[in-house]
């Protein structure tokens, strides 16, 4: 159980980095010539400030310079002076009573989102590699991490978690994700307000925080909301160029593109998309402006190219591997990882599969796809598609192209995070059009929104409620959510380090661990990998025993914690061909345990000591 001072420290570790990134951004707004008010101004500042802060952390930790919370607190305090309203823009007119009420509810929801983010990390990728990677880079300089393949990809958002992790408060790291959720909601609110009405704006902002996509991602250290915020701002700014002709919008677009690409490699695809929007939308940018923006993008991504060159030997890793090398991994692993991304939605990649994908997004049961954005885009966005300008047509066609690309390559909806806010805006425009039809339409829309708010609110309660309680008792929350990982933690505590584990909560482990999953370690197939590619079954055979043993020895592995199917290890086997061969040879021994701790289902955790 945490005492009150510990909870205060946790909140401090959560809020200080957010405020420091916000302060950096507030300093940037004037030189960038960005005029905005209220929540939109704060959102722009947070997004741009976090991108710059991430590069600063990359530089500092690359040189092994600490990034203490106290320093960030000083930045936040200095930035407070910039919080005073921007007087160069006109204030928004006060909205109707119900508009102000929805805004107030959204503000409360924002606070709840932040607090829920302070509970222990229980998202799979978060505790398996995002936070462990950051912890390693907080304990030593940014460097190659043996057998952590993800450390070779971009980690721009991950680095924003570093101050909290370095301060010994990894639970507070996800406050940054919450910050991105709030920033996205504020941008959606402002853009929907501009394009539709104040009422549509506040509703779009509120539902942006309520939909399952946000409920899932905001309290975790997944980086998709960050990528979404950078990518959305980039595409929005390219569209803003078409509408206003302000070259500053293109500058912001370039910066945001660089930050998005620094956060996740696939966001590079947004660069040609933004170029298409800016050049085809009816206002062709001058060549020197385009050249300047291209330079800005390269300047923004250059630090990560240097990092990749230092840690993998290939500045463009994981691309051009045949030419510049694949570092500690192989082309086969990289190719399988790319393929693996496409398997989150198992349907074929033809027209039929795409239609099923569209249906599944709304009423399916695929955890990576279904129901995440709520029903409003499908219900309301079609009414926005009338008499659109050339700029909006180009924007819509480009977004559709990106969406098809996402379906083909990586169909999990979170990878499309930069595109999803546009659906919210389209829904707001369509909804506003319906609302103008008269009181009956407004009444019916009000009932539909209320029903949906209750539905999403119940989901929010189920998801955030236990996390609020976890502020006082994080251990109880972990036991409830992932009892098998709590048991694994106990098993690892008894085993000889380095302990190899199948996969799981690396962050929680009390001793150094090695993840046996090929996707994570990038070097070892601990069992045969079977799948289907283009309809044809394939098998990647497991790494030969001797080679596997040599690899584990090189990584310092002295024991394995494995989850074993029944009959539990009374028959002296663990069900893995490689380990069973070692047991038969006598080069490994199964530690006796009359009552092995429970893993998932009817599996049990056992320890195998390597000789």
């Amino acid at each position: 159980m945490r005492a009150a001072p510990e909870i205060v420290r946790l909140v401090f570790a959560g809020i200080v980095p957010d405020l420091a990134y916000l302060a950096l951004g507030l300093w940037m707004l004037r030189p960038l010539g960005l005029a905005a008010r209220g929540a939109e101004r704060l959102a722009l500042a947070f997004i741009l400030g976090s991108g710059v802060a991430s590069l600063a952390i990359l530089l500092l930790r690359g040189l092994d310079v600490p990034v203490p919370l106290a320093a960030l607190a000083a930045v936040a305090v200095l930035g407070a002076a910039r919080l005073r309203p921007d007087t160069t823009t006109r204030p928004d007119p006060a909205g109707a009573g119900w508009v102000r009420a929805v805004d107030a509810a959204t503000l409360a929801l924002a606070g709840l989102t932040f607090v829920a983010a302070l509970a222990p990390e229980t998202s799979w990728d978060g505790f398996e590699y995002h936070l462990p990677m950051v912890r390693a880079w907080s304990e030593g300089p940014i460097r190659a991490l043996p057998a952590v393949l993800d450390a070779e990809f971009r980690a721009g958002v991950d680095l924003l978690y570093l101050p909290a992790v370095a301060a010994g408060a990894p639970d507070a790291a996800a406050a940054v994700s919450a910050g991105f959720a709030l920033a996205l909601a504020a941008l959606i609110r402002a853009e929907a307000r501009r394009r539709a009405s104040p009422g549509a704006g506040v509703l779009a902002g509120a539902f942006a925080l309520l939909v399952p996509f946000t409920l899932d991602a905001a309290p975790t250290t997944y980086v998709d909301l960050g990528v979404g915020a950078y990518g959305f701002l980039a595409l929005l700014s390219a569209d803003r160029w078409n509408r206003t002709g302000s070259a500053r919008a293109l500058g912001v677009c370039a910066l945001a593109l660089a930050f998005a690409a620094n956060a996740k490699l696939h966001a590079f695809a947004l660069c040609p998309a933004a170029l298409a929007i800016a050049t085809l939308g009816g206002r062709r940018p001058p060549a020197r402006v385009l050249a300047g923006c291209t330079g800005l993008v390269f300047a923004g991504v250059a630090p990560w190219l240097v990092k990749a060159a230092v840690t993998s030997g290939n500045p463009f890793f994981p691309f051009l591997g045949g030419w510049l090398g694949t570092g500690a991994t192989t082309e086969q692993v990289l190719s399988l990882r790319r393929f693996r991304l496409s398997t989150d939605f198992w349907m074929d990649r033809g027209v039929g599969g795409f239609l099923r994908y569209l249906v599944s997004i709304h009423v399916g049961s695929n955890p990576h796809v279904s129901g995440l954005i709520g029903p409003l885009p499908l219900a309301l966005a079609p009414f926005a598609l009338q008499r659109v300008s050339r700029a909006t047509t180009v924007l819509a066609v480009t977004l559709a192209g990106l969406f098809v690309l996402q379906f083909m390559a990586m169909p999990a909806l979170r990878f499309g995070a930069p595109l999803l806010p546009f659906l919210a805006i389209a829904a707001a425009v369509g909804g506003a059009r319906l609302a103008r039809a008269g009181p009956a339409a407004r009444g019916l829309l009000g009932v539909a929104f209320a029903l949906l708010a209750v539905h999403h609110g119940a989901a929010l309660g189920a998801r955030y409620g236990p996390r609020l309680a976890a502020l006082r008792d994080p251990a109880a929350y972990e036991r409830r959510v992932f009892p098998d990982q709590v048991a694994l933690r106990e098993v690892v505590a008894r085993a000889e380090p380095v302990v190899a584990i199948p996969m799981g909560a690396v962050l929680w482990m009390p001793k150094p661990v090695y993840v046996l999953l090929w996707e994570r370690n990038g070097e070892l197939f601990f069992q045969d990998l079977r799948g289907k590619r283009d309809g044809e079954p394939f098998v990647v055979p497991r790494t030969p025993q001797a080679q596997a043993r040599a690899l584990l020895a090189r990584r310092g592995v002295r024991s394995l914690a494995l989850d074993v199917r029944p009959p539990h290890p009374r028959d002296g086997r663990v069900g893995n061909a490689t380990v069973d061969a070692w047991l038969r040879e006598g080069t490994a021994t199964l530690r006796a345990d009359p009552d092995p701790p429970r893993a998932r289902g009817d599996r049990r955790w056992v320890i195998v000591d390597l000789k």
Binding site: R195, R243, S246, S365, P382, S389, L434, A437, A441
Partner: protein
């Protein structure tokens, strides 16, 4: 942001060319009426109800 002055055909500042550029969006489309409005509202209600029902009842439609 303040609109910057633009030059007119004569090359001088001022006159009608000082007006801000026309908005890139066309005028708002007409509001829906009658049967089209009823159909639109029925669509909205159906989509929201189906979504809520599928999630609340945890229906598996094989997708």
């Amino acid at each position: 942001m303040r609109a910057s002055p633009r030059r007119g055909h004569s090359g001088r500042l001022g006159g009608v060319t000082d007006r801000p550029p026309p908005p890139s969006e066309p005028p708002r489309p007409p509001t829906l009426r009658g049967a089209r409005l009823a159909l639109a509202l029925a669509w909205v209600v159906a989509v929201v109800l189906i979504y809520v029902a599928v999630r609340e009842l945890r229906l598996n439609l094989g997708l």
